[in-house]
Symmetry: C2
Subunit: 142 residues, 2 copies
């Protein structure tokens, strides 16, 4: 048997132009929630439920926020050492697992910002192209 199609050997390391972005794996370009959480935790610890409020500040509506996703994401980030957690002592109500960003998390965040800048530019490019083709329906409709 002979190979049907040859591999030009260019299929790997295709990460947005970065050899290895945050968290190494080729990001499928949507861990926006993750970045938001890192920014929120940057200067202030927080717990799962409580972070929802902060996320609203980034445009997430309370309805579209999925609590499972939120907790799952936080645990995953801890496994990757981007954040660390501890059980809050005392305090009223059920105990809370409080998260803090790690220095690794901060470095990661820094790289994320570059990716987001790029993503923003792509969106702008697309919008401009669209406006061009449709005759600038809206001029800087900011």
């Amino acid at each position: 048997m002979k190979e049907v199609a040859k591999n030009d050997g260019k299929k790997d390391s295709a990460v947005f132009g970065h050899g290895k972005g945050p968290r190494d794996k080729k990001h499928k370009m949507e861990r926006f929630l993750e970045v938001c959480l890192l920014v929120l935790l940057y200067d202030e610890a927080g717990y799962g439920y409580g972070l929802i409020e902060g996320l609203e500040g980034f445009g997430f509506s309370r309805e579209e926020l999925n609590v499972s996703t939120l907790y799952r994401t936080l645990r995953k980030m801890e496994k990757e050492h981007l954040v660390s957690s501890f059980w809050e002592e005392g305090g009223p109500g059920p105990r809370r697992r409080v998260y803090e960003i790690t220095s690794e998390g901060k470095g990661n965040l820094d790289q994320w910002m570059n990716i987001l800048e790029g993503r923003k530019k792509r969106i702008e490019k697309l919008i401009n192209k669209y406006d061009e083709k449709t005759g600038f329906r809206k001029e800087e409709g900011e």
Copy 2:
């Protein structure tokens, strides 16, 4: 047995603030490729392989573009009547399936632009917050 958690009845129709965005289903916020294709086809028909070049104009690198995804996406868009296709007659080389945008596709694109505007603003908000917290490392590092 009794129900453990009550449902506050607010879990549905959580689509970015739009009752029903393009293509009705709650978009998981990443069909950027799809939108790029619609913009490319807006004023000029194109075929799968040939569209790759145009996509590069939006920041996709040739390596990160996945051909399977490209074709899969085009067929899906046709199934949804956002584009239509025909086999190119004559011409050198293997036959090509040429895609054209439909009027439905154009309407869809219009809605996508709103979503992208929103997405852009979210990113900006996030970047600003980050810069705030880290002390404006880069001032409009455009």
